[in-house]
């Protein structure tokens, strides 16, 4: 099914998630997207006056796997070990929505044509919303890369943006997926070992504080995200409930010949409007709250990963120190031990410095994003609530 988001970019959700101080030397956006059978094709458009590029404006078509390839390339690059790598966009998932549309199509005879049309409309809107979200997620990933002074200069990034042909990056096969999964386990085990058993002492208060903070924060934001999702789904459920109620009230009203007719029809109309409003409330909470929480859940995970890398570097440094001491006492292979220790020290210090900056950026990014989204959420909620009944208007009274 071909679905195109409006090229005009009304209300870029990407801006809501991350406030980016970009400069105009490199601007990236997803200008178009097409959803096919089981994949989505994104058209990535770049505007740049950087000398590196052949043209000032160009675009390529990319699929989700290529984004993942780019992300992994950054993660595996030692040069960026001291930076928070922007979290990879989640895989586009239309499964649930497609299933629902299919079930609706199979038909339920007790549903009237009007109700059917409304439900179909709801599901289509849902599909479209999911589509827009996935575009936004992919876009913000690229835009963060483009805004970061170091990350934007990566060669792979340029290739991603410019290379006209398919990058021939296939999706991870089962072995690679398993490998990735195992790597994560090893990582957490390693982290536990470093900090726990070997009793690695954190030398810097700042990082000590950050670590404790991030661990707790990540868990809690994940919780909040899950629960916000549930609230959003409940709102949607409620909106769906209003459909048969409105229909039943309409038919009751049309059968009455007395005063009740007006009452029923009015109530039916009210439920219809409530349905639309509940739907809007649900989607606003989704965008402003759930999505934001989800994004920062991933971003805080990326920050945690950075801390882990630094910790690893610290451990390596400690080990190098120990090795150097041992070499000195034995007076054998002192020079290689010395240079190894030097390297570890430098690496550790480099990571610490950049990590500090990155974490502070993370905080300010987070705060400003929360601020923006919470304000917008409150304003939208107010707008919706007022639509249903402003206090100043003429209230009910007998004629």
């Amino acid at each position: 099914m071909e679905v195109h988001p409006e090229a005009g970019k009304e209300g870029k959700p990407s801006c809501a998630l991350v406030e980016l101080q970009g400069d105009s030397s490199l601007q990236v956006e997803i200008s178009d997207a097409v959803s096919e059978r089981d994949k989505v094709k994104f058209t990535v458009q770049t505007k740049s006056c950087l000398p590196h590029f052949a043209q000032t404006e160009f675009s390529v078509v990319r699929q989700h796997e290529e984004f993942i390839w780019l992300h992994d390339a950054y993660v595996e690059n030692e040069e960026y070990a001291g930076l928070i790598i922007p979290p990879a966009p989640p895989r586009p998932d239309f499964e649930a929505s497609r299933e629902k549309l299919q079930k609706l199509g199979e038909g339920d005879s007790s549903v009237t044509r009007e109700e059917f049309a409304k439900m179909k409309q709801e599901l289509e809107a849902e599909y479209l919303a999911i589509f827009k979200k996935t575009v936004a997620m992919h876009e913000v990933f690229l835009q963060r890369l483009a805004a970061h002074p170091t990350l934007r200069r990566d060669h792979n990034f340029f290739v991603f943006l410019e290379y006209g042909q398919d990058l021939s990056v296939r999706g991870k096969n089962r072995k690679e997926l398993l490998g990735g999964f195992l790597r994560n386990i090893v990582k957490s085990a390693d982290e536990a070992l470093i900090t726990g058993v070997s009793g690695l002492k954190e030398v810097d208060d700042f990082f000590e504080h950050e670590r404790t903070f991030l661990l707790e924060y990540h868990t809690r934001i994940r919780d909040a995200c899950l629960r916000a999702d549930r609230v959003m789904r409940s709102h949607k459920c409620l909106a769906d409930d209003y459909i048969p109620i409105s229909a039943a009230l309409s038919s009751l009203g049309s059968q009455e010949v007395n005063q009740l007719r007006t009452s029923f029809l009015k109530l039916a109309e009210l439920f219809e409007r409530l349905r639309k409003l509940e739907g809007r409330v649900a989607s606003d909470e989704d965008l402003k709250l759930s999505d934001m929480l989800r994004y920062y859940m991933r971003d805080s995970q990326a920050a945690k990963d950075l801390l882990y890398r630094r910790l690893r570097a610290l451990a390596d440094y400690e080990n190098a120190n120990k090795a150097l001491d041992k070499a000195r006492t034995r007076n054998r292979e002192v020079r290689p031990a010395e240079s190894h220790q030097q390297l570890c020290c430098q690496r550790f210090e480099r990571l610490s410095d950049s990590a500090k900056q990155e974490l502070m950026d993370f905080k300010s990014r987070r705060v400003s994003s929360f601020r923006k989204n919470l304000i917008e959420l409150a304003e939208l909620e107010l707008k919706h609530a007022k639509l249903k009944g402003p206090p100043g208007a003429p209230s009910a009274k007998a004629v």
Binding site: H209, F213, I221, Q255, R371, A396, K397
Partner: protein
């Protein structure tokens, strides 16, 4: 003072009152005002109050509605019968004032009393018909409350006792205010007595609330959880509505059994209401037999009115059932929403605690508080959804079943008449045969016998016809009354329900407005 009441404006203007609403407009209150602008006469007591700026009535009146006991819903509904006089529009005014004015419900009752006591003593000596006619123009001053559910006894023999309070100025009662303790089976017993006396002559006897073995067992066992308190509250409200409906019926109100139920402190235990008793089983057998009979009776309907009405009720029944199922789903989902909102509020609070940026942390805590309050709102709305909307629908589904039962009785009555006619015919034929037969010695005796039988059956036929006509007449009146009550009930509830929705929205506005500056304060 009873001000001059102008006759309500007749129907034409109503549809045009329905304005097209734009986005910014007040959806709810214009809805409510349209409903209430249909024929209504202003309450005398409320006239001055209505001049007060309507805006200030916004939040307050709904507070009045929601704070009061649920029983006021029906107290006011009872009051409305007073406006129902023959020269008025039969489809009468709604009760706009409790919703709108700060005047509390008690003032509704007070002004009436002096006018009612005038008609009350007259009721004594009238015949049943005259009383019924009077009922249409009569004012009913009787208010019933069911309250204070109390668990009596222990274990499986435990039961809930409810306090039934009656406030009345009708002189058939010895006091003007009195209360008694009753248990659920007492209510069922009352219904069964009334049904056995009045159903078969065509009166629509309001059905009693349903039994629930599961619900009661939980209560007996002593589970003090929210679901059993909910169950008890649901039952209490249902019993109250049941009694209110029953006393509103002018004929049933006269019944000595009803009076005994309301007044006497000791009531003989109604054992026949137990499901598994002999009487219970007999009831089930009778019901099955009735169902079979209904299928086999082919009635020659001479009166199209009955056929029309039956069809109408059938349609109404189906639609109410459908709506009821949907509303039940709504109640369930709103409760889920409330639970999810509460859970989210907690995790938002936790997140706020973790957050090390002070202003953001405070804002998140505020968000958590807002969500908690919203959860409360959802709970209240679910309560309103259920007690106003859903219960009204289920009450009417059962009432319509009673109406259908009454139509069935009429059919049975017809069948009886028809059978009598057939038997009479047979007897006459037999007589004719005897006349032509040539057995002189037996003739005289046989002739007498058959004469007697024919007279007997003639009388039965006449009686059958009378009964049939009587039941038809009663049903017509009953259905008319039922329809009036139905319109009134639904309209009242719809308005109240709308107001609950308005109230919720207004509260939401307040909460979000309080939160917005906090969000903006994040530095």
């Amino acid at each position: 003072m009873a001000a001059e009441r102008e006759p309500p404006p007749l129907g034409d203007g109503k549809p045009t009152d329905f304005e097209e609403l734009e986005d910014g407009e007040d959806l709810f209150t214009s809805t409510v005002s349209t409903l209430e602008s249909s024929p209504s006469s202003p309450e005398p007591a409320s006239l001055p109050a209505e001049d007060i700026s309507a805006n200030s009535n916004g939040p307050k009146p709904t507070e009045v509605v929601l704070d009061d006991d649920r029983e006021d819903l029906f107290a006011e509904a009872t009051e409305e019968v007073s406006l129902d006089s023959p020269e008025r529009e039969p489809i009468l005014s709604s009760e706009p004032s409790p919703a709108v004015t700060p005047v509390t419900p008690t003032t509704l009752i007070a002004p009436r009393i002096e006018s009612k006591s005038m008609s009350a003593p007259v009721i004594f000596d009238r015949s049943r018909e005259e009383i019924e006619e009077e009922a249409n123009g009569d004012i009913f001053d009787i208010e019933i409350g069911v309250s204070d559910p109390e668990k009596v006894g222990d274990g499986m023999n435990a039961y809930m006792a409810y306090r039934v309070t009656t406030k009345t100025s009708l002189s058939m009662f010895s006091k003007s205010e009195f209360s008694v303790k009753r248990r659920f089976s007492d209510f069922l017993g009352l219904h069964s007595k009334l049904a056995s006396k009045y159903l078969h002559v065509g009166y629509i006897v309001p059905p009693a609330p349903e039994k629930s073995i599961v619900g009661m067992t939980k209560v007996k066992v002593g589970k003090e959880d929210s679901s059993s308190t909910e169950f008890v509250e649901k039952r209490r409200a249902a019993l109250e509505r049941y009694l209110q409906r029953t006393v509103k019926h002018p004929t049933l109100l006269q019944d000595p059994d009803l009076r005994q139920f309301l007044e006497s402190s000791e009531l003989p235990r109604a054992v026949n209401t137990q499901a598994l008793s002999g009487a219970g089983i007999l009831r089930m057998v009778n019901k099955a037999a009735d169902a079979v009979n209904k299928m086999t009776i082919k009635m020659n309907e001479s009166d199209a009115w009955f056929e029309e009405k039956q069809q109408q009720f059938e349609n109404l029944d189906q639609q109410l059932r459908k709506l009821h199922a949907s509303v039940e789903a709504l109640v369930c989902h709103r409760k889920e929403l409330s639970a999810n909102t509460a859970a989210f509020a907690k995790s938002a609070a936790m997140l706020g605690n973790s957050e090390d940026h002070t202003a953001l942390s405070r804002a998140l805590s505020q968000l958590a508080e807002v969500e908690e309050k919203i959860d409360q709102l959802h709970q209240e709305q679910a309560f309103a959804d259920f007690y106003m909307f859903s219960e009204l629908l289920s009450d009417y589904i059962r009432l319509i079943a009673a109406v259908k039962g009454v139509f069935d009785h009429r059919m049975k009555c017809w069948q009886k008449w028809e059978d009598a006619q057939i038997t009479l015919l047979k007897k006459r034929e037999a007589e004719a045969k005897i006349m032509v037969a040539n057995k002189p010695d037996k003739i005289q005796q046989a002739k007498n016998e058959i004469r007697e039988e024919i007279e007997e059956w003639e009388a039965k036929v006449q009686q059958g016809e009378r009964e049939f006509e009587q039941i038809s007449k009663t049903i017509r009146k009953e259905v008319g009354r039922f329809e009036k009550e139905r319109v009134k009930d639904f309209k009242t509830v719809i308005i109240k329900y709308l107001e609950s929705l308005v109230q919720t929205q207004q509260q939401l506005i307040k909460y979000w407005e309080a939160f917005l500056p906090e969000a903006k304060a994040i530095a």
